[in-house]
């Protein structure tokens, strides 16, 4: 019996698998797959942005923006670039969809290290976005900037085992979903191949956010459930496809009723995590400020739909504590836009949001103007 376990038949598959991973790791780290990456995938965000920035010139940017899709889609980057150019400021977009703390830290530190004329960073985040992330997703987004991964200074919320975490940091693991998607949707990839990279478009990005949430009753969970039921019965898009999909997903009657019955609409986060998030973010702001760079921190608004469905209890505490910690830092300016709709009473809340998370065209104009004003 035990002869089998010392026989080549037992060990050979493990050796073959190890060799497979070794070869793939070397090939992927040398960029063999980079030309085929889908631009709007997690990995695509980082890889194409790094290419575009390098082609543009790393010595040019004076200001960059970092953060997730709320700031990335919520800013009119083209307008901002043009307006700031007049003030002799070269602004570049480094914000990327789904960026959370680890990706923001890596992108910021990498930019400080590699962009010789960088003067400041615009950081945008909502309270919800301050916490809870998946490390593999963050590695994917910030893959070209992973040399700035810094687990000495920052305590990442790594919940998986050390072996799994090590696996997540392999190039193969980071590229795997993209490669899989390429084979599953090969027709789409081949068709769009020529449109994959347009550096100018990447830097002057301005996502159209033409819809809004007006016409949907979403003031609280009960209204949201009723709206979701109505949309489900209608069984077709009434007005805003993205928003309607989100409403149906966030407010399914059965789960929401259970949450309401349990008087627990969102899950709380532990004190340990609250402390960890506050420490990490404070360290990042302090570190940027200590390097002599300016920071403009924009606290982004959230629609009530997000607040009563998925926003973890405790995130406002994280944000308030963070603001208190960094308010005394030299070179750090805070712009709290959480009550954006109160600051602009001529608009309804629904007019400012494209969906439950992102700003609408109106919201975008107001936010872009706020950023521009901060430079005056």
């Amino acid at each position: 019996m035990f002869k089998f376990f010392i026989n080549v038949k037992f060990w050979a598959p493990f050796v073959v698998v190890a060799l497979f991973f070794l070869i793939m790791e070397l090939l992927l780290r040398n960029g063999i797959w980079d030309k085929n990456i889908k631009p709007l995938s997690y990995l695509g965000h980082g890889v194409y942005r790094a290419k575009a920035i390098k082609a543009y010139g790393l010595d040019k940017p004076n200001w960059i923006s970092v953060g997730n899709s709320i700031i990335d889609w919520g800013l009119d980057h083209k307008t901002l670039r043009t307006a700031l150019k007049e003030k002799d400021i070269d602004y570049i977009r480094m914000s990327m969809g789904s960026s959370k703390f680890p990706a923001i830290q890596m992108v910021s530190d990498w930019s400080i290290e590699n962009m010789d004329n960088l003067q400041g960073i615009i950081i945008g985040s909502s309270a919800t976005s301050l916490g809870k992330y998946n490390m593999l997703t963050q590695y994917k987004i910030a893959w070209p900037f992973i040399s700035s991964y810094d687990n000495q200074n920052y305590d990442y919320d790594v919940t998986n085992s050390p072996i799994e975490h090590l696996y997540q940091k392999l190039a193969f693991s980071v590229y795997f979903d993209d490669i899989k998607d390429y084979f599953i949707n090969y027709k789409k990839h081949l068709k769009n191949y020529n449109r994959y990279t347009k550096p100018n478009k990447i830097l002057n990005f301005n996502k159209k956010m033409n819809r809004n949430l007006c016409g949907y009753e979403l003031a609280n969970l009960t209204e949201c459930i009723e709206t979701a039921n109505y949309l489900r019965k209608a069984n077709k898009t009434i007005k805003n496809r993205l928003a309607e999909k989100e409403i149906k997903r966030r407010c399914p009657a059965k789960i929401s009723k259970k949450k309401m019955a349990a008087n627990r609409l969102s899950s709380p986060i532990s004190d340990e995590l609250i402390e960890l998030y506050i420490q990490n973010w404070t360290k990042l702001f302090t570190s940027i400020a200590e390097k002599g760079l300016s920071v403009k921190f924009f606290v982004l608004p959230e629609h009530p739909l997000l607040k009563y469905t998925t926003k973890p209890i405790g995130m406002d505490q994280v944000m308030n504590q963070l603001l208190a910690n960094i308010s005394t830092l030299k070179n750090v300016e805070i712009y709290d836009l959480r009550e954006l709709y109160e600051q602009h009473p001529s608009y309804e809340i629904c007019e400012l949001f494209n969906d439950g998370i992102h700003l609408s065209q109106t919201g975008k104009q107001i936010f872009t103007q706020e950023v521009l004003t901060s430079f005056e």
Partner: protein
């Protein structure tokens, strides 16, 4: 402790090494070690409920001996059945009975409610109870002598590879292996390792990923449309097959590494051409148990057509309830009972047997059987009756959501799934030929399986579905 967890792999390595060492010097010590290891395995879930297993083991061990030596043995059989069925009734069915009684009371217009009892359902209780009951029934039937050594009996009931979800092994099959010199070979080790890897692939790669299609629909059926419901129902048929047959492969593989042979539990059930054929291929050891100890005890097919139909129906109804204390499981069993009864009735007509061997007829039979089985699975998977009805209502709305693309995609995936399954059934019955595989073929498949586990395996270790029974 789950088979698909890292801690189980460590546990297994230790058990294999220690039992091999003990076997060399003292066979009795090896068996005691396996009993202790099995207790540790079960105790990882709940140490207190280990007492429950040992009540079953000790009582049936003593009652078996008493029965054999007594001149008036029937009372010992009745005591054993009372203890076994009593434990099952209290721990598995008490709340179900109370809830049903409360519904009746309220339907009758009374406001009184019988309070429920908070009891944790012991993992694998139905499996080990059935196994233990078969021992005493076999003694009663005269086909088995009771075991003198307690360790033999304790190992038969609590042996960890089959403790929580089978296969349900007959006492005579197990004791024969204990009495004879157990055979260990290079081929057996190869087969055992191969079955474990293949079982893990079935569970972690196929079943757990199919759950991603199934769970959203069954968790919130009111939010799903007809097509996604149809796909979820078909996906569940495959999910439960991969989940349970994956578990069985691992159980058989682990037992094989310890020198034990377990009976086959699955034989490509979804290629069945009749419901009877399906039950000869699905959970074969349970079908065998129900036939030998329930259907035959009820009279089988010896008392005329009507009673045969009744016995079939009752067997399937109780078989359904065996799976879980809920009316949904009972309906699932009843549906199969009705299918079998109708099938039996139809097969009595001569004109029905013409031309049944031609391929188009075979295909239609397969299509009908597969869809009937899938329909019954709705009740098996849904949380309650209302949810089952919601799923069926969604399916009736298929025409409203009709899109040619959906029809094409669903059919394409089903055809591919069945082509693979058919191919596997005919040419690659790994389970039976893995020990004879040549080096390159074995290395090739093992490499593929390991890569699949790493690349496509679900990230969280999900529990096996049949653990709840």
């Amino acid at each position: 402790m789950l088979f698909n967890s890292f801690s189980f792999m460590i546990f297994l390595c230790i058990v294999l090494v220690v039992s091999a060492i003990l076997r060399k010097y003292n066979k009795g010590a090896e068996l005691w070690f396996l009993v202790l290891a099995s207790a540790y395995f079960y105790g990882q879930w709940n140490w207190t409920y280990l007492i429950l297993i040992y009540i079953t083991i000790v009582s049936d061990y003593i009652l078996g001996l008493k029965y054999y030596k007594s001149e008036n043995p029937l009372k010992f059989l009745y005591i054993s059945l009372t203890v076994n069925l009593g434990i099952l009734a209290v721990y598995k069915y008490l709340n179900f009975i109370l809830n049903s009684a409360n519904t009746l009371i309220q339907t009758a217009g009374f406001s009184y409610t019988i309070p429920g009892v908070e009891l944790l359902l012991p993992v694998g209780i139905s499996f080990y109870t059935f196994q233990s009951m078969s021992y005493i029934i076999d003694i009663h039937r005269g086909s088995l002598k009771p075991r003198e050594k307690f360790v033999d009996y304790a190992l038969f009931v609590s042996f960890f590879p089959q403790l929580v979800a089978g296969p349900i092994v007959r006492a005579s099959e197990f004791f024969k292996q204990l009495d004879e010199k157990r055979h260990f070979s290079f081929d057996m080790a190869q087969t055992g390792v191969f079955l474990i890897t293949m079982g893990l692939v079935k569970k972690v790669v196929f079943a757990d990923n199919l759950a991603l299609i199934v769970d959203p629909v069954f968790n919130a059926p009111e939010a799903a449309n007809g097509w996604s419901t149809l796909i979820a129902v078909y996906a569940f048929a495959f999910q439960i097959y991969f989940d349970f047959s994956g578990y069985t492969d691992i159980a058989i593989g682990v037992a094989m590494l310890l020198g034990f042979q377990f009976p086959k539990n699955f034989n490509h059930p979804y290629v069945a051409l009749s419901i009877q054929d399906f039950w000869r291929r699905w959970h074969m050891t349970l079908s065998r148990w129900l036939r030998d100890y329930l259907y035959i005890s009820l009279g089988g097919n010896r008392n005329g057509a009507w009673k045969t139909q009744r016995n079939l129906f009752l067997t399937m109804f109780l078989g359904g309830l065996w799976h879980g204390a809920s009316w949904n499981f009972a309906i699932w069993g009843v549906l199969h009972g009705v299918y079998l009864a109708i099938e039996r009735k139809i097969s009595q007509y001569q004109w029905m047997s013409w031309n049944l061997d031609i391929k188009p007829v075979k295909f239609l039979k397969w299509l009908l059987v597969f869809n009937l089985v899938c329909f019954a699975w709705i009740f098996f998977r849904a949380e309650d009756f209302d949810q089952s009805i919601q799923i069926i209502t969604n399916l009736t709305n298929l025409a409203n959501d009709f899109k040619l693309k959906n029809l094409y995609n669903t059919s394409a995936y089903l055809v591919i799934a069945f082509m693979v399954l058919h191919k596997v059934s005919n040419y690659y019955d790994f389970a039976t030929r893995s020990g004879k595989m040549k080096s390159l073929e074995f290395i090739f498949w093992q490499t593929i399986f390991i890569l699949m586990l790493i690349l496509f395996g679900a990230k969280e270790a999900e529990s096996f579905m049949y653990f709840q029974f």
